[in-house]
């Protein structure tokens, strides 16, 4: 091929390519991960579900923490049918949806897995620990929902990322903005979920909505 023809072809190629030219922005880490996993973006999925499905589901399903926890003790099957959810197979414990309304008696904020020890029955003793992050243990929010299912995900990794995305979402939405000082004695209202605690362990509650009053 002569130099001239090669140059001509090259020019032609540019001329052809130019109209299709567009500015491509450098993908963010999240976009790159989405690309690598074939279009899976748990953060966006959770953000899309949150107002439309998650909050209405929790609001409708929740009982007061007193109702839920006492029914779970006296009749686990009844509590599960009314307030609980778990995958059909496997050995995960029931996760219950509840509304906590009480008084903060102790704020454990030294650890990054911070929580508010909350009294719901006015006896001055803690009944439930409300997680406020930035480290949230477990995947209670995901596990409480009856419209998401592990079998619809490619594998455990994506299911795990989806679960963590709920925690990350609620941290960004409200928990990050909570004060970390002077919490004791304040009133607290929260709707969220907690897995059935093992015997003798306190309930560890992950809030989806939370209001701390005076």
């Amino acid at each position: 091929m002569s130099t001239f023809r090669a140059a001509a072809l090259f020019t032609l190629a540019i001329a052809l390519a130019l109209p299709g030219c567009k500015i491509v922005k450098t993908p963010t880490a999240e976009e790159a991960a989405e690309e690598a996993s074939g279009g899976f973006n748990p953060a966006r999925q959770v953000a899309g579900l949150w107002d439309e499905k998650v909050i209405p589901f929790l609001d409708k399903r929740a009982g007061t923490f007193q109702e839920v926890s006492s029914l779970a003790k006296s009749d686990l099957d009844a509590a599960a049918a009314k307030y609980g959810h778990k995958e059909k197979e496997g050995s995960a414990p029931w996760t219950f949806v509840a509304k906590v309304s009480g008084t903060i008696i102790k704020a454990e904020t030294k650890s990054r897995a911070a929580y508010l020890e909350t009294d719901v029955d006015g006896d001055g003793k803690g009944d439930v620990r409300i997680q406020i992050g930035p480290v949230i243990k477990g995947t209670a929010l995901r596990d409480s929902l009856d419209f998401v299912n592990f079998n619809e995900f490619k594998n455990q990794i994506q299911w795990a990322e989806f679960g963590k995305a709920f925690n990350t979402h609620v941290i960004g939405l409200t928990l990050d903005k909570l004060p970390r000082e002077g919490m004791e004695g304040k009133a607290i209202e929260a709707t969220g979920a907690y897995p059935l605690p093992s015997a003798g362990q306190p309930a560890l509650f992950t809030p989806a909505t939370i209001t701390i009053g005076g």
Binding site: E87, K88, E89, G90, S91, A92, P93, S111, R112, A113, P134, V135, K137, G138, T139, N149, F150, N151, K154, N155, Q156, I157, W159, A160, E161, G163, K164
Partner: protein, 313 residues
């Protein structure tokens, strides 16, 4: 269509069994295929599955694929050729095993996966796996607590082709990385192996003498690491494993390894055989193919109750 294929296969299996002069009324066969029994975890699976199969009146064929996908493929052929009614499989790689399980399905032999999942549904009848993410989070929470939420640490990873290596590492980091004062100074694969765990730990320790902790993707690597640390006189380093083996239990009770996470290996294998039995007799599979079994944290408080991958009460 399906029936025709089954009948053809039954005829084929019948012809085959006659040609190798099987006894006329031999019990149905269940093949149990796992990685090497050198790791007590896989041995417990095989023993659990075999015990349950015999209890339910089956013959068993126990095989090991040594984490070699080619060997696994040959073993699946063997199981099909021997006329197995079901295969209990702890597979040799989440991508590479899809074809092998499909091959068994095409030959009319249903597979019941344990421990490791594959990246496909509708090929196996069941996939009963430990909730590795939940377990890894338990291990990481305990590790962070033992470390006082700060300090340099090392992570030993499992074999890369195994999805469980990735999911455990993810579970660890989703917790540990939330603590800015926790610093990972080395992260290396020791391929689930005790000897590699020992040699990798030796090398890492020389380059990073100031480490405070080691978090390991399984118990055998943790056993290798603690041995290397003890040989170097470093009894102060916190080691956390994953599996819940008797070796690590003994190390915990004698003040070596600090914690591990129990995977219910024995129960999982037995559950797979029960589901296989129902499927063989009724053609019915479980309500959901992929089934997660929760893990349990093991530390000084409950280690004494651990025996062969199960907690006694």
């Amino acid at each position: 269509m399906k029936l025709t294929r089954r009948l053809t296969l039954a005829a084929f299996a019948g012809a085959l069994s006659m040609s190798v002069a099987m006894p006329a009324f031999a019990a149905d066969l269940i093949a149990i295929i796992t990685p090497s029994h050198d790791n007590p975890f896989f041995k417990a699976e095989a023993v659990g599955a075999e015990a349950k199969a015999k209890e339910l009146g089956y013959e068993t064929l126990v095989l090991v694929h040594d984490d070699d996908a080619n060997k696994q493929s040959q073993l699946i052929d063997t199981a099909i050729g021997r006329g197995a009614k079901a295969i209990i499989l702890d597979n040799a790689g989440s991508e590479a095993s899809i074809a092998a399980v499909q091959k068994a399905k095409d030959a009319g032999v249903p597979s019941f996966l344990i421990d490791r999942e594959i990246n496909a549904t509708g090929v196996a009848v069941s996939q009963i796996v430990s909730n590795n993410y939940q377990g890894a989070q338990l291990g990481a929470e305990e590790f962070v607590k033992l470390m006082g939420e700060a300090g340099s640490y090392v992570e030993l990873l499992g074999r890369e082709a195994d999805l469980n290596a990735g999911i455990r590492s993810k579970g660890y980091h989703d917790i540990i990385d939330e603590y800015p004062e926790m610093k990972m100074v080395a992260q290396q694969s020791a391929n689930w192996s005790q000897t590699e765990g020992y040699s990798k730990m030796e090398t890492i320790l020389q380059a990073n003498p100031d480490i405070k902790g080691v978090i390991s993707g399984n118990d055998t690597m943790a056993m290798g690491a603690i041995a290397a640390l003890q040989a170097a006189g470093r009894k102060d380093v916190i080691v956390v494993g994953f599996d819940g083996s008797n070796d690590v239990r003994d190390s915990i009770t004698s003040g070596g390894i600090k914690a591990t996470v129990l995977q219910p290996a024995y129960a999982q294998a037995q559950m797979a055989v029960e589901q296989a039995d129902v499927y063989i007799k009724t053609g019915k599979g479980p309500a959901e193919e992929k089934q997660l079994m929760d893990c349990v944290l093991i530390n000084g408080e409950n280690a004494a109750k651990l025996e062969t991958f199960a907690l006694t009460n």
